[in-house]
Amino acid sequence: MSPDAGFSPELLKIDVQRETEKITSEIRNLLRNDLKRRGIVLGLSGGIDSSVTAALSVKAIGKERVFGLEMPELHSAEETTALSSTIIRHLGIDSQRVDISPILEAAGCYRQYDEAVRRVIPGYCSGWMSKIVISSSFENEGFSVHSLVAQAPDGSITKTRLPLIPYLEIVAATNLKQRTRKMLEYYHADRLNFAVAGTPNRLEYDQGFFVKLGDGAADLKPIAHLYKSQVYQIAEYLGVPVEIRSRPPTTDTYSMPQGQDEFYFSLPYREMDLCLYAKNHGISPANLASTIGLSAEQAQRILDDIDTKRATTRYLHLRPLLMEKVPEIAY
């Protein structure tokens, strides 16, 4: 049977009960045998992925063994802590809220970000907001490039392509946010003798949408094998509150609201899931195109871009590389 036969969003439907049992069993197995830790710490952003990871953790090992960290900062959306509180209350887990703005301030995150933006927009200062967007991988034949979108206090918006140095400096400054959060997660993991759960879904994990040693660092990643659509299915099955399930995916990193599809992926998650599934299962560009409403040529570009992102972000997955193997320590 051709891989194309019957390609549709239905293919992403999973047996949620069976998948939940599989994941929760494996969580206990890893904690017991590999990690030898007594519980799980995780950062809670109020988003679907961390909420589902928390819910799965509680189902696996009980709410007494799960600790949640809320870590908002200056540019966090207003609804972030409302939603993270919601999942904490819903699950009944212990938690702590730490505003990480002072840490980021001390590390120069905000200052260095603003200085980098001023290289491109000299008038950028207090009262302005900004975000980075990426050119679509399927709309044109060019390279994907990042642009800075800035909003002045009077509401006017400018969009400027980011040259090399400001781009690197902006990414470096904002990566401090994810790395600071991970630092705090491991602090609590150490004091509780717990393990740290990472919360990427398959799309993010596969396509390198994470910060190395930031949100990319973890002891276990319970939903990294699930397409985002499947994370939503599990969320509904586990009774994750509806306000969390209906929040649009956001990076919640920049002062201007920024969708994940603006920053990294070219399409909303439902379509990107299908593209990734198609890539992984040899579905033809023509078949994919008709399912997601694009031309075959555009679909081919997205499929090619999946490969490009995998190659470019391989670096993020690598363990430290040795000059010579140390065979006694080869996990």
Partner: protein, 80 residues
Amino acid sequence: MRDKIRLYIVDNFLFGESQGLEDSTSLLETGVVDSTGILEVVNFLETEFPIKIEDEELIPEHLDSINNIYNFLEGKLAAV
């Protein structure tokens, strides 16, 4: 000018070891240059030569090999 471009590519991306890189080699397909690398190439060209590369000029035909870069650069400099 072609040598200057080659020297930059080999020095910046390959630490001085050309590893059989030909002027026609696709830099993207061979993984020599990735999306951040393209920004580095653009930065090099705009620093070393009196040109400005527009958004719509960021295409493989202009930047994906030493030959492509050379031909693109020649055209840009002729227009200056």
